[in-house]
C-alpha cells in the first residue's frame, strides 16, 4: 500500500513502517521554542533532569514574539532563553533576526525533516517537504533532551488545486477560501497535502503562506512535495545540498480528497472573530478600518512586501489610518531595504518596524483601542488576539491590506493593480 508524505517521513523517523493511526516515538531533527513558550520549556527541561541537548545545532531558541522587549518581565524571559542557549550550546535567534517560522525555512529546515516547535504555526515548514508540527513546551523540552517525541501518525486530506489564480488573488486568499469552506476544525488531527497545477506554478513564498495556515483548519501539518521550486529556494539560501525529493506514492491512501478550481476565487476577507468566517471581497468592501498591519509569519516575506509596495507606490495612507509594516526576518528586511520597498512604505505614511511578530501577539507595537478595527495579513482573528478583546480583526492578503490602507476602508486590490 502506498504512503502519503506524512507516512513516508514518519516511517523514516520511527525506524519502521508506519501508517495513519499508529502511535509512534519519532526521532526529531529540528526542535524550537520562542520567547512566549521557551521559559516553560526550560523549566520542564530542568524538572525532568535532562542533562544535555540531543542535537544542539538544531535546537533553537527564538526571541521574536516580544522583541525588542516592551517590559521587564519579558526581558527576564529573554534572559532565561539566552542563558539556556549559552549553557547547552543551543542556537539562539536574537532580537531583530526575525520570526521563528521564517528563519526556520530560510536557514534550518531540510526536506524530509521532522520539526517540532512550541508554536502552532510550526506547520509553515511543511512547504519544504518536512513534517513540521506545533506542540507544547514540555514536548519540545523532551525533544531537546531526548531527540524524540510521541506522536500519532495522522490521516491525510489531499487538496488538489486546479486552474489559474486570477489577478489580484494570492495564496492568502486561497487558504482563507479553503478554511472558509472546510471550517476551523475541518482538518483537525489531519495532515493537509496540497498539490496540483496551482501548486506547481506557485512560488515557495506563497507555498509557505498556505502551509502556515494549515493549523487554522485544525491540521497537524500542511505538506507540499518538493520540486524544482524547492530546489531553487534552497539554492538561493546557499544550501542546495539540503534538497531531496519528497513526494507521496501514486497509490497513497487519503482519507479525503478535495478538488478545487481556483479560477473563480475572489480576494477573501475573514471577519471577526474566527478564521473560517470568510467572505469574498465583494461582500466585505466598505468596512472602515483604523489600522492596517502588513507582516507576520503568514505574509511578511519579500514577495508580500513587493506586492504591497506596488500598490502603495506614490500613494498616501488614508487620513485616520495607521499602517504598520514588519518584514518577517532580517533577510527579508535587508532585501526590502535594497529594493527601495521600505522607502515606499515610509513615504506613503507607514511605520516600518524591526523584524518580529509585531502586534499579532497582542503585547506591543500596535495594540488596538476599544471598538477599533484592524485589517491584518496575519493568520488569526480570535477575540483578544491583538491585545484587546473589544477590538475587531479582519484578515486578508498583503494586496488587500495595501488597498485598504489607501482607501481607509476594506478595498478590492484589483482596483489598484
Amino acid at each position: 500500500m502506498g504512503k502519503t508524505i506524512a507516512e513516508k517521513i514518519l516511517s523514516e523517523h520511527a525506524g519502521k513502517d508506519v501508517k495513519s493511526g499508529d502511535l509512534i516515538i519519532a526521532r526529531v531533527d529540528v526542535a524550537m521554542v520562542q520567547d512566549g513558550t521557551g521559559p516553560l520549556a526550560v523549566e520542564a527541561f530542568n524538572r525532568m533532569k535532562l542533562k544535555a541537548l540531543a542535537n544542539p545545532e538544531r535546537s533553537i531558541l527564538f526571541i521574536d514574539h516580544a522583541a525588542p522587549s516592551p517590559r521587564k518581565e519579558l526581558s527576564n524571559a529573554h534572559k532565561i532563553l539566552r542563558e539556556f542557549a549559552d549553557k547547552y550550546g543551543a542556537a539562539l535567534s536574537e532580537v531583530g533576526e526575525g520570526i521563528c517560522h521564517q528563519r526556520l525555512v530560510e536557514d534550518f529546515v531540510k526536506p524530509g525533516d521532522v520539526v517540532v516547535g512550541a508554536d502552532s504555526h510550526t506547520c509553515t515548514s511543511g512547504a519544504l517537504g518536512a513534517f513540521a508540527t506545533g506542540m507544547g513546551s514540555t514536548d519540545v523540552a523532551i525533544a531537546f533532551g531526548l531527540g524524540k517525541v510521541w506522536m500519532k501518525v495522522p490521516e491525510t486530506h489531499r487538496f488538489v488545486l486546479k486552474g489559474k489564480m486570477p489577478g489580484g488573488v494570492f495564496a492568502k486568499d486561497l487558504i482563507l477560501y479553503i478554511i472558509g469552506m472546510i471550517g476551523a476544525d475541518g482538518a483537525t488531527y489531519k495532515a493537509m497535502e496540497f498539490e496540483g497545477e496551482v501548486i506547481e506554478n506557485m512560488s515557495m513564498e506563497s507555498r509557505f503562506t498556505l502551509t502556515n495556515m494549515a493549523v487554522e483548519a485544525g491540521a497537524k501539518t500542511g505538506l507540499i512535495a518538493t520540486d524544482e521550486t524547492t530546489r531553487a529556494y534552497l539554492r538561493e539560501r546557499n544550501r542546495e545540498s539540503d534538497f531531496r525529493e519528497i513526494k507521496p506514492d501514486p497509490d497513497a491512501v487519503y482519507e479525503k480528497t478535495y478538488e478545487i478550481d481556483v479560477s473563480g476565487i475572489e480576494p477573501q476577507v475573514s471577519f471577526p472573530h474566527t478564521v473560517d468566517n470568510t467572505r469574498p471581497i465583494s461582500e466585505a468592501k466598505g468596512v472602515k478600518i483604523d489600522q492596517v498591519y502588513i507582516g507576520t509569519c503568514t505574509n511578511g516575506r519579500i514577495e508580500d512586501l513587493r506586492i504591497a509596495a506596488e500598490i502603495l507606490r506614490g500613494k498616501k495612507v488614508a487620513k485616520g489610518v495607521r499602517l504598520i509594516v514588519i518584514p518577517a526576518s532580517r533577510n527579508v528586511y535587508l532585501k526590502a531595504l535594497k529594493e527601495g520597498i521600505l522607502e515606499v512604505f515610509v513615504e506613503a505614511g507607514g511605520a516600518v518596524l524591526s523584524p518580529g511578530c509585531g502586534p499579532c501577539v497582542g503585547i506591543h507595537q500596535g495594540v488596538l483601542a476599544d471598538g477599533e478595527k484592524v485589517l491584518s495579513t496575519q493568520n488569526r482573528n480570535f477575540k483578544g488576539r491583538m491585545g484587546n478583546p473589544n477590538a475587531f480583526i479582519y484578515l486578508a492578503s498583503p494586496a488587500t491590506a495595501a488597498a485598504t490602507a489607501i482607501k481607509g476602508e476594506i478595498a478590492d486590490p484589483r482596483e489598484y493593480l
Binding site: 499508529d22 502511535l23 516515538i25 512566549g36 513558550t37 521559559p39 516553560l40 520542564a44 524538572r47 525532568m48 533532569k49 514574539h65 516580544a66 517590559r71 518581565e73 519579558l74 527576564n76 524571559a77 532565561i80 516547535g117 512550541a118 508554536d119 502552532s120 510550526t122 506545533g134 506542540m135 507544547g136 513546551s137 514540555t138 514536548d139 523532551i142 531526548l146 524524540k148 510521541w150 476551523a184 476544525d185 483537525t188 488531527y189 493549523v215 485544525g218 491540521a219 497537524k220 474566527t274 501577539v361 497582542g362 503585547i363 495594540v367 488569526r380 480570535f382 477575540k383 483578544g384 488576539r385 491583538m386 491585545g387 484587546n388 478583546p389
Partner: protein
C-alpha cells in the same frame, strides 16, 4: 480514575486567546498570577467562581489556536478536574494529556451549567447526577491514560527516563 464536580458551560470555538489572553503575555513566567485571568475573555467571572474539582463543559473545537501550554496549565491550576467538549483542537488536547489534565470528547448538549457530574475516565462514562442521565464519551487511548495516571509526561519521563508507552 473517578472525577466529580460542577459543570461550567462554554460555547464553540473557545480559543487559547480566550483562555490565556495575549495581553497577559508577560505573566507567562508566573502561572499562578496568569491563572487569575483564566478564560477571562470567555467569562470574566470564571476565575473567581471556579472551585476545586469543577468541570469545564464546552462545544466544538475547544482550545483552538496557539500552542501555549500555559492554557491547560492555568485551567489545571484553577482547580478544574476535567474538560468535556464535543471536540478539541489538537495541540490543546495533546498539551492537556501531557500535563495530566483529563479531558474527554462527548455530546455536551444534554449537560447544563451547574449540573453535578461524575466521570469514569477509564470507561469514558459521564454521569449527569443532576439530570440522572449517562453520556458515553470517546474513551482515551491506553497510552494517554497512562500519561495522565503518571501525573503527566514530565513525571512519566522522570519515572522511566524515556518514553514507555503502549497503544
Amino acid at each position: 480514575m473517578i472525577l466529580k464536580g460542577r459543570a461550567f458551560k462554554f460555547g464553540d470555538d473557545i480559543s487559547t486567546d480566550h483562555i490565556a489572553p495575549g495581553r497577559y503575555f508577560h505573566l507567562r513566567t508566573n502561572l499562578p498570577e496568569l491563572a487569575k485571568h483564566v478564560l477571562e475573555d470567555a467569562d470574566p467571572e470564571f476565575a473567581k467562581k471556579v472551585q476545586k474539582g469543577d468541570i469545564i463543559v464546552a462545544g466544538r473545537n475547544f482550545g483552538l489556536g496557539s500552542s501555549r501550554e500555559h492554557a491547560p496549565r492555568i485551567i489545571k491550576i484553577a482547580g478544574v478536574s476535567c474538560i468535556l467538549a464535543k471536540s478539541f483542537a489538537r495541540i490543546f488536547f495533546r498539551n492537556a494529556v501531557n500535563i495530566g489534565l483529563p479531558l474527554l470528547e462527548c455530546d455536551t448538549d444534554p449537560i447544563d451549567d451547574g449540573d453535578i457530574l461524575e466521570i469514569d475516565l477509564e470507561k469514558g462514562l459521564v454521569k449527569d447526577l443532576t439530570k440522572g442521565i449517562e453520556i458515553q464519551a470517546t474513551p482515551l487511548p491506553k497510552f494517554m491514560l497512562n500519561i495522565i495516571e503518571d501525573g503527566g509526561i514530565e513525571d512519566h519521563i522522570l519515572k522511566y527516563g524515556d518514553f514507555k508507552l503502549e497503544d
